[in-house]
């Protein structure tokens, strides 16, 4: 606890020092972009009262990311993706697991999970306009799962009368990526059709003898297909009706004749109505179905063993009080259906309802206060929550902004965590716990942002204390004495995480830009209700992480431009207390050290005219090969050459 307090004090001092050092702003850092996630109302990034990290379309293109995992680990320090059991992806986001970070696409939740996290391969970067990331508890606006923050992926919305982009990328291990995006846009109607394919082969990796923890020897590649269509209809000025439909398919072969299949069907209808200058209404219906099945090649059978279906309706109304602020009220209804062969009775369902209100008050030219309160109700076990949030923005100077606040976050137990009964190959039975309570977190944060000409500095720090964190607990043998081992879901006694982040950016007129972003994270080891320190369900966050990016861009002639980028990330070593013998807890725990690593990527983008872009990249530039492929080791077996091309067909003519 002492080190945590020291960390918080240091971070606070650092934040205040930055504030004092501030001077007038001259922004070139997208601070005039409009963001919507922090308050569910459109606001300029520079004015938003809650620290929001914006990843722009240009950032996405620069990283050449395939999916959100690829993007976040190149853009955000403190974010790490590792393997959970069965090589499903688990995210650690500044000390929060993927279960406590709410992923949204255009404001809509995602159904399904792959060992607790959403299926990140669903979140591909094709057709994404921008990503807004709000760190810290946001449950007062977004409800369950937003205890650690919200990642809102905003898709593209019309544009030119017509546009057609085709793109492809090839890389090592037979990685192939093909995509296309076709847009038509008229005065009243716009349509965007997007398709994308990405595939990689399985490949094996070698481990040195005597690993200290679980390792993997095979990287399972997969093949993913996305088809999405979005129609926007503007019947009258100020009104927009958006219909969308999407299909996602992923296949992965751990056993050649028994590949796993993952499918998602999504659809939605949304109406947005700007009623005069002060009132705005947003009504939406969303359907999302995420299925898992195993395909038996020999018998040609496709057997579904999991399906999560979510139907939701929501309404958000904003009323602006001229010059004073904005009142936001809203409500959601969600029907959640889960079919899982490892549930008792194989399926269960629940309804969730919430209502919330937020007042965004412009106290003065420099002060803005936002208060929000939300009530959530879940029909399963009649679980309800009241969640407050209070944040403030203070513009010390025009180019120096201070943001601070308190928020509560919560995560209701999932149906799986309550009713699961999964015999894991006879080793033990993962056991749901109907008596689980919601985990609740209290978050305080403070952030300062300073911009001067070509320089931008952001410093932030946070502290989270979580009660009743939901995790798997200590394995125990059946009291019936039949030798069966159970791994139950439990509520932990307490758990805390604190950290800080500092990001420096420069952008010069000569085409050079750079960014350094450093995060420090400290997770406090969890304890069960008896105060016993238990092994983390997942490997904890690395204490130190650094992201660096340097770019140089020059347009040599009208028809030729070149961009060179070097980006890298460094993650420090991390120790974790793990059971010596999972099946005999009495043997105690041991400390396992997961080593530090750094990865770099050098990329060039050549622009030919307005239509053609050729991307060549060397990923893992310094040929880092892990000695042990622990579950949080980077998934790489050495340097990889990537070549990609993107053609805007409409710009060829």
């Amino acid at each position: 606890m002492k080190s945590e307090k020291r960390l918080c004090v240091l971070s606070l001092l650092c934040t205040l020092c930055t504030a004092i050092a501030a001077q007038r702003a001259d922004s070139v850092f997208n601070l005039n972009d409009v963001v919507v996630t922090a308050t569910r109302t459109p606001k300029l990034l520079k004015d938003v009262p809650i620290q929001t990290r914006l990843i722009t379309l240009k950032d996405i293109e620069r990283t050449d990311a395939t999916d959100v995992q690829d993007l976040l680990q190149q853009e955000m320090p403190g974010v790490e993706f590792s393997y959970a059991m069965n090589q499903q992806r688990h995210m650690n986001f500044c000390g929060f697991g993927g279960q406590s970070i709410l992923f949204l696409i255009d404001g809509e939740r995602l159904a399904g999970e792959t060992l607790d996290d959403v299926d990140f391969t669903r979140l591909n970067m094709a057709n994404v306009q921008r990503i807004e990331i709000v760190k810290g508890a946001a449950s007062a606006l977004y409800g369950s799962n937003a205890g650690g923050g919200v990642v809102n992926i905003i898709t593209k919305d019309g544009g030119k009368p017509w546009a057609l982009n085709l793109n492809a990328r090839l890389a090592r291990h037979n990685e192939q990526r093909y995509g296309g995006n076709w847009t038509v846009n008229s005065e009243r109607v716009a349509n965007t059709l997007n398709f994308n394919y990405n595939g990689t082969d399985n490949y094996s990796v070698k481990n040195a003898p005597n690993p200290q923890a679980l390792v993997y020897g095979m990287v399972y590649g997969d093949k993913t297909y996305h088809v999405k269509d979005k129609v926007t209809f503007r019947p009258i000025d100020g009104m927009k009706i958006v219909g969308r439909a999407g299909y996602f398919y992923r296949t992965l072969s751990r056993t050649a004749d028994n590949p796993e299949r993952y499918r998602d069907f999504s659809a939605g209808l949304r109406g947005l109505w700007q009623m005069g200058s002060n009132d705005h209404l947003d009504i939406a219906y969303a359907f999302d179905q995420y299925d898992k099945s195993d395909f038996q090649e020999i018998a040609r059978l496709d057997i579904r063993d999991y399906s999560n279906v979510q139907n939701s309706v929501r309404a958000v109304y904003n009323h602006g009080f001229s010059g004073v602020g904005t009142l936001t009220v809203g409500a959601d209804y969600l029907h959640d259906y889960l079919f899982n062969k490892n549930l008792e009775g194989e399926n269960c369902q629940q309804d969730a309802f919430d209502a919330f209100a937020q007042m965004d008050w412009n106290v003065s030219a420099r002060w803005e206060l936002v208060g929000a309160l939300r009530y959530d109700y879940f029909s399963d076990h009649r679980n309800s929550h009241l969640t407050p949030k209070l944040t403030a923005r203070y513009k010390i100077l025009d180019n120096l902004t201070l943001r601070f606040g308190y928020g509560m976050g919560f995560r209701a137990p999932t149906l799986k965590e309550r009713y699961y009964n999964f015999d894991m190959a006879g080793i033990w039975t993962v056991q749901g716990n109907p008596q689980l309570q919601s985990e609740v977190s209290h978050n305080v944060n403070i952030a300062a942002e300073w911009t001067r000409r070509k320089f931008n500095l952001t410093v932030s720090t946070y502290y989270n204390n979580m009660t009743n964190k939901i995790a798997t607990g200590i394995p125990y043998y059946s009291p019936e004495g039949n030798g069966k081992l159970f791994l139950p879901y439990i509520n932990l006694k307490n758990y805390s995480v604190c950290g800080a982040e500092m990001t420096m950016q420069v952008r010069f007129d000569n085409g050079f830009s750079g960014k350094l972003s450093y995060a420090i994270t400290s997770e406090h080891l969890p304890q069960d209700k008896d105060g016993t320190t238990i092994s983390n369900q997942y490997i904890p966050a690395r204490t130190h992480s650094l992201i660096a990016r340097f770019d140089w861009d020059k347009q040599f002639t009208k028809n030729y431009g070149l961009s060179i980028g070097l980006n890298g990330r460094f993650l420090s070593a991390v120790n974790n207390e793990e059971y010596v013998n999972l099946q005999d807890i009495s043997q105690g725990t041991k400390s396992v050290c997961y080593p530090a690593y750094t990865l770099w990527k050098l990329s060039t983008v050549q622009r030919f005219g307005k239509a053609v872009r050729l991307t060549l990249a060397l990923d893992n530039l310094f040929n880092y090969i892990p000695t042990y492929y622990y579950y949080n080791a980077p998934v790489t077996d050495g340097i990889s050459f990537q070549a990609g091309v993107s053609v805007d067909i409409d710009n060829l003519f």
Binding site: F265, Y285, V309, F339, N347, A425
Partner: protein, 268 residues
């Protein structure tokens, strides 16, 4: 189209989706796995085909191929279109410790480098004696998950992938090298409750190393990878007769592994 019509249609779509989609759509994409064990057998049943759920870690399942032949022939005489389903005889693997004896029969605990180099790296950690494996009076082969034993027979693996393609008669194989059962103490996995620590209890027993190749289990990777070998195997029984065996599938409709569908021909 007027706005009213559009709004009406939109409303209809939403209401329809709300009413129909609560438990999901497109269930027709998937196949039915709700088959009983008997239905599984019937689904797999065909002339010259056998089915057995051999997934239990603690049981051997026995087949008497002469009895099978006689039963099939008897049934055909009554009804030439009927398909016979064979009842495999199941016997528990002895797990109880007994007094030490001169025989090597018992449970051998081996440590395997399951999460490292794989199961090829292993060492013996423990042994305790048990009684001999019980078995029926007459039997030809026995299966336990991916392991196969024979009753004094020997086996040759052909390159054929269909029994129908085999050259006629047993004479084509008389000069081939047939392999008899061999002693094993680290192949027949029977105790899995310490698997996370890499410790697995094995039954010490003779198995046929050739016929056991019809279903390979490899680690790494984890979870284990199952690989079906669809070659036809020739079984030379201890009475000098020959049979052809081929593993057709190792999954039941629910995807449970070690549910074996076996093609056979007897006698050759």
């Amino acid at each position: 189209m007027s706005f009213k019509k559009i709004h009406f249609l939109t409303g209809c779509v939403v209401v329809t989706l709300l009413l129909t989609a609560c438990e999901g759509l497109f269930s027709g994409l998937y196949d039915n796995d709700k088959l009983t064990e008997q239905e599984q057998e019937m689904a797999a049943a065909a002339a010259g085909r056998l089915y057995v759920d051999a997934s239990d870690w603690e049981k051997w399942y026995y087949l008497d191929i002469q009895e099978l032949r006689d039963s099939v022939n008897a049934l055909k005489e009554k009804d030439s279109t009927a398909v016979y389903t064979y009842r495999w005889k199941e016997y528990d693997i002895p797990m109880e410790r007994t007094e030490a004896s001169d025989t090597p029969t018992g449970i051998y605990t081996y440590w395997y480098d399951v999460f490292g180099a794989g199961i090829s790296v292993n060492e013996r950690r423990d042994f305790y004696p048990t009684i001999e494996q019980p078995m029926p009076e007459r039997w030809s082969i026995a299966v336990h998950r991916n392991n196969v034993r024979t009753n004094g027979a020997s086996v040759y693996e052909t390159g054929y992938t269909s029994i129908a393609d085999l050259p006629g008669g047993k004479d084509a194989f008389t000069d081939c090298t047939f392999i008899e059962d061999q002693w094993s103490e680290k192949d027949v996995w029977v105790v899995q409750d310490q698997m996370l620590s890499g410790l697995i209890g094995n039954q010490g027993i003779k198995i046929n190393p050739v016929l056991s190749q019809w279903l390979l289990v490899s680690i790494p990777p984890m979870p284990p990878q199952f690989t079906l070998n669809n070659h036809v195997f020739i079984l030379r029984l201890n009475d000098g007769t020959y049979a052809a065996l081929q593993l057709e599938n190792y999954l039941n409709s629910a995807g449970k592994k070690c549910c074996l569908t076996i093609n056979y021909k007897y006698p050759l």
